[in-house]
């Protein structure tokens, strides 16, 4: 049933979103920052329509105005959270530059195949007006936008949240207090429960130059997640995850807006943390997935998985995760969120040598960012993490660039397999090898929409 008043962006419910037409285009950022190629980072349009002659190819490249942004994550101006607001549309994609602090607002509607720059919010202006730097996650908030920043203007933690109007004007800081939060990173909110959860990476001055393991011991990296009173915009409860939760990065609630269950991937511990609100109304957490470190002939210690991303399918049935250093993508059935069951696993690149070549292309890096179609069948995976970290763990990526791979997923029975007809080799880009990172679908995907 379609509601009469509905003509804003997105879908009336997750169940409606699953029925949306399959994506024909996807957008992925691609970087030259830190690669040695003196060109701007860009937004690549990739043709993902199997009937199209340019299927599996980059069909447009929108360069940013300057070099050195390090585009990373991105987000829409609007999602299903304003589905009932006919004045809004999912038209603008916001691309923050982690290093430059610039926010690029991209118009994808005038010509979806060839997006154009609509506006740039200058990084220096953001620093001056809000004392924030190191932008990361973009979420819309009804008809406004909030973006997590990992540092203050000098790159020191914990940063805070930039609040933008629907016309991309700086309103100021979104949060009323950061409480005792030490670091910022990702966040997700579940309005029906008046809760937001945020996670911790490190200060920009710590993570931007690269990863020094010793700095984990010196408490320069996070190990806590935070629960917020979403309306009051203040953190109210913190879970110390300890050794089980080193570098808690991506946080995702169930898509079902009535659910209190959510998940966090702790990258260095390579664990999935599950939280929920119990019958007496208190938040609880537990570790539900623990990826063991793997021996490597040349390493003095076993290799951690480095679970840098997680994703929940729109039907809340599957959790997907990556192990960037091991080289595998996994699918878990989380129908019972306390007892996940491994239902699929594929290998691409990584340090363990399980799948150095995929579809005829030698892979530098491992599975890193991924995005799932609304129907849960097509998972697009890219291989670069962050320029400086790539250069440390996979130095060959300078010459070979990143790739985008398609994994076919079976939402009925579980299971995943690499699609042999699709691979976008960013090593063959016209200006030289670039590195693709986060991917978004014009009609929405499994990390873009929240229901109020």
């Amino acid at each position: 049933m379609t509601k009469m008043e509905c003509c804003g962006p997105g879908y009336s419910s997750p169940a409606e979103a699953i029925k949306a037409p399959a994506e024909k285009l996807v957008y992925s950022i691609a970087i030259y920052t830190g690669t040695g190629i003196q060109k701007p980072d860009y937004l690549a349009t990739v043709d993902v329509d199997p009937q199209s002659p340019s299927y599996s190819k980059v069909i447009h490249r929108l360069e940013m105005p300057g070099i050195g942004d390090e585009l990373h994550h991105m987000g829409w101006n609007a999602c299903s959270s304003c589905h009932n607001d006919s004045s809004m549309s999912r038209r603008y994609l916001l691309l923050p530059g982690v290093r430059s602090n610039n926010i690029h607002v991209i118009d994808t509607d005038s010509d979806p195949r060839a997006p154009r720059i609509h506006k740039i919010i200058d990084g220096a202006e953001i620093k001056m007006k809000t004392n924030l730097s190191g932008p990361h996650t973009v979420h819309c908030l009804g008809n406004e936008i909030i973006i997590s920043f990992l540092g203050d203007a000098k790159g020191e933690a914990p940063g805070g949240y930039l609040h933008l109007s629907k016309d991309f004007e700086i309103i100021g800081r979104w949060e009323n207090s950061m409480g005792n939060i030490k670091f910022g990173y990702d966040f997700w909110y579940q309005p029906r429960h008046n809760v937001m959860v945020s996670s911790e990476w490190a200060s920009p001055n710590t993570f931007m130059p690269g990863f020094d393991l010793e700095e984990v011991g010196h408490l320069k990296y996070g190990r806590e997640i935070h629960f917020w009173d979403f309306k009051k915009r203040v953190p109210i409860e913190t879970f110390y995850l300890g050794e089980d939760g080193l570098l808690p990065l991506e946080v995702k609630f169930h898509h079902n807006p009535d659910s209190t269950h959510g998940f966090c991937g702790a990258a260095l511990s390579s664990n999935v943390i599950h939280w929920w609100r119990n019958a007496s109304g208190a938040w609880e957490w537990e570790k539900i997935i623990d990826v063991e470190n793997e021996p490597h002939p040349e390493w003095p210690i076993p290799v951690p998985g480095v679970m840098s991303a997680i994703l929940i399918s729109m039907d809340d049935k599957y959790l997907y995760l990556n192990n960037w250093l091991h080289g595998d993508m996994r699918q878990y059935d989380i129908s019972d969120p306390h007892n996940p069951k491994l239902t699929g696993q594929v290998w691409m690149g990584g340090l363990l040598g399980k799948a150095p070549i995929v579809n005829g292309v030698k892979i530098a890096g491992g599975p890193q960012m991924f995005q799932l179609s609304l129907d849960g069948r097509r998972l697009y995976v890219t291989t670069s993490l962050f320029s400086t970290w790539d250069n440390q763990f996979y130095p060959e990526i300078r010459k070979s660039g990143g790739v985008m791979i398609l994994i076919d997923c079976d939402p009925e029975n579980g299971g995943m397999s690499i699609n042999s007809d699709f691979l976008v080799d960013f090593g063959k880009e016209p200006n030289g090898p670039s590195r693709c990172h986060e991917t978004r679908y014009p009609g929405g995907d499994c990390t873009s929409d929240i229901w109020i």
């Binding site: 040695g36 390090e70 290093r99 920009p204 690269g210 393991l213 390493w299 400086t388 300078r398």
Partner: protein
């Protein structure tokens, strides 16, 4: 005005202002250099100092091993006199290391925590 010689660009020499960051002076004169944050917090603009001295007290990105290997971040480094540099990623041979295969000694950490380590050892 100090002379800045770029060893891996045919030893071309630029005259620069002592009081300005090298990145600004060199880009202004047409040298194509990588950069990122422009405040000394990331190592995108790192170059190797082959000879000479710079003041880069504002940088917060390099650990002491990288500094001992000669790296400077051009966006905040100011020359104290004539210098010879290697620039770009060709100069980054020892800038990046796998942190698991090649750990840092306590004195090789970034200056704020290397100092803590020293104090701790001093007390012990």
């Amino acid at each position: 005005m100090p002379d800045i010689k770029i060893a891996n660009r045919n030893n071309v020499i630029y005259k620069v202002d002592k009081n300005r960051p090298l990145l600004d002076s060199l880009i202004e004169q047409g040298l194509d250099l990588p950069y990122g944050c422009k405040y000394g917090g990331c190592i995108t603009c790192a170059a190797k100092l082959i000879s000479g001295k710079v003041d880069q007290h504002r940088q917060v990105a390099l650990n002491n091993r990288q500094i001992n290997n000669g790296y400077i971040v051009l966006c905040v480094a100011r020359p104290k006199g004539d210098c010879t540099l290697e620039i770009g990623v060709e100069s980054h041979d020892t800038l990046y290391r796998n942190p698991f295969l090649d750990p840092l000694e306590p004195h090789e950490l970034k200056k704020d925590i290397a100092k803590n380590e020293k104090t701790k050892n001093g007390i012990l």
